[in-house]
Assembly symmetry: C2
Homo-oligomer: 453 residues x 2
Amino acid sequence: MSMSTDAQRMERIVSLCKRRGFIFQSSEIYGGLNGLWDYGPLGTELKRNVKDYWWRVMVHERDDVVGLDGAILMTRAVWKASGHEETFSDPMIDCRTCKARLRADQIAEKNGAKQCPNCGGKDLTEPRPFNLMFKTYVGATEDESSLTYLRPETAQAIFVQFKNVLDVSRKKLPFGIAQIGKAFRNEINPRNFTFRSREFEQMELEYFCRPEQGMELLEYWKEERLKFYENIGIGRDKLHVKEVPDSDRAFYSRGTYDIEYEFPFGLQELEGVAYRTDFDLTQHIKASGKSLDYFDEETKERFVPHVVEPSAGVDRTVLALICDAYAEDEAPDDKGKMETRIVLRFHPRIAPIKVAVFPLLKNKEALVAKGREVQRLLRPHMNVFYDEGGAIGRRYRRQDEIGTPFGVTIDFETLGEKGDVLRDTVTLRDRDSMKQERVKISELLQLLLTRVT
Amino acid sequence: MSMSTDAQRMERIVSLCKRRGFIFQSSEIYGGLNGLWDYGPLGTELKRNVKDYWWRVMVHERDDVVGLDGAILMTRAVWKASGHEETFSDPMIDCRTCKARLRADQIAEKNGAKQCPNCGGKDLTEPRPFNLMFKTYVGATEDESSLTYLRPETAQAIFVQFKNVLDVSRKKLPFGIAQIGKAFRNEINPRNFTFRSREFEQMELEYFCRPEQGMELLEYWKEERLKFYENIGIGRDKLHVKEVPDSDRAFYSRGTYDIEYEFPFGLQELEGVAYRTDFDLTQHIKASGKSLDYFDEETKERFVPHVVEPSAGVDRTVLALICDAYAEDEAPDDKGKMETRIVLRFHPRIAPIKVAVFPLLKNKEALVAKGREVQRLLRPHMNVFYDEGGAIGRRYRRQDEIGTPFGVTIDFETLGEKGDVLRDTVTLRDRDSMKQERVKISELLQLLLTRVT
């Protein structure tokens, strides 16, 4: 796809997200706040499904991982020890002409001279570090003693609580602590829709191990995480694994993979899988004076565990899912004329709504009653949408656009008006093939359950 | 129960929460940060279950409610319009003797004179308002133009996005918008464990209606919310409904109920159900200049909807569940001697772990293999814990203490060593009655599913 087509595609995706209630700009009626987003009804469900599936495969289906849910506000000492207070910054440059604040890597070069990409001005300040953590004050005074930051990553809560979790869970190495939660970075230039936001959600696992297991577990987790994306419907061909070279890696890391996705705006990181050695625990041991080590009952050794961290972005995953699912094809309208169809080809596992129930006609009481009965049958087991308004073709089209994988139509056959053989059967329509099959209501739930779980 | 017994009971609950990994103090290894808490492995699961059940009954099982997931950081204009910037404060008094900062309502009176409850000093400042919102700055500058607050409640995101949600969801009045998320209040004196924290999670529904429906819906939602607490296992006898008198109610509210729970530290609010009229939407219409009204297609009227708000605290609900579940009774140890048993009598629906699987002996390979088989059978459907270590009585006791409602033991009968009749059966132990029944493995999943959903 050409550059301009990619940009157009992204525009259509953003427009669909707003139009159908996936994502809105935060504080929109007040002009919005840059880099902050609210998830609408469908976006909220999609995001929930992604997080729930992550928790299921990373925590519930494993014996060796437990969860944590730490506070966003932690004491400043944590961010001193982790190195964030000193080094978590981007170089920033001001344009003295137009007053734009820019990240140093956004400065344009033209004929060897540095220029403001905004106004073309050449009167630029020297780059200086701008810390990306949001500051706040906890307590009744507002001074250095009460200063702290909104967490810029969820991982540190896991390191700080390592000993507590180890004690209560009685786990043996290797084992992991998983967490999903909000993090905040005061990005100088948020961009690419929700991709680089100032507030975002992370799904992080810190997987602790013996030092000699680190490199092997880095490979293991890279593969596990690739499987995760495939299992939620992102094709392996759209994912790239970048081995981060020594020069770009954090000094304490012995190996890092970036899992990248081909967004319409370019190849961008979805997740980092990093072998962080014992850096974080050691920093907190030094700063707190507390022991965060592990006693191996078999070898009688006491040591600081190493850690491999698969760290994924919820919002980035959601955006990748939407971009990946977005398609335009052709479908017949109610008169059989072909028209362009917008469809989100979500994997049923993560689709916000699993099935839509349509009584063929709104003003035929028996159809409506049967429709409600089918809705009640399915609802305890999956997210069901009921819609009785308008032509059936238009109703299908509305569900296609939001990625509902299945449509169930209750018609006169269902009521037995076309003979007893079809009584209590419905048509089940597949979003992608648009094919319809006749299914007994009594078999509907089981059939759908096998397809959406 | 006497005052001192209640205090002791609370102490034992707090101790259990730490010991078994429900709740830790945030940043504990650095001395902690007052009013901030981290949920450990079991607390995280308990909290997830509460939120998931709320979402299920408040959103998924209803046709008239959709979800929203708004950003924590919103523009300052929101908090000006909502009134929070001007009035969301507690009166604060300083003791000049010991420098304590106190909420005015915590000042002790002795012989008619006001005293510091900390040092007994009488040199106190006049009360002055202390705004409870945490400040921060969004963007590269740190001045009035970039100042905003961490949201002190989730509700405002719903009001601000009302029009967007209405447009995309095509709902007719009455309908609701639900949200679960973090909120922050810089409490002067956080207290009562997690009850009054500086960071907490809310589950809020804004249910929009025609003005004439407000009072009736206030009653409806009060009853619905009481059912919710009963359905997660909090007995109706421990819940009190307080009708907030005119004098204590926000000026714009026409009626408010507080749903209170008998905590060991006193009767305290779990949830407020408030009829807020059209106050919030009207404030945002005035401040933003945008229309947030509703057009009734049948009556051809255009008006600003009224709203009834059931607003529950996740952390308070979790704490109430733990307090309510905590019990001490007697149970036989492995030698049949009676000993004190600590048990959390959680409703199976919200218990962090639904079932524990125990092979009778660790060193008998066939028992362990069968145990793993049973674990694999159940795991896709519920949170299962597998434990092969130690005497069976001690293993039961550990699960009792964390509220696991069911225990499945694989023994020699299971292997068919005591005859074919009992082959492939297990014992299913009930946490509360401690009674055991013999169940076929082939029937186990269905039996458990009916009890835990």
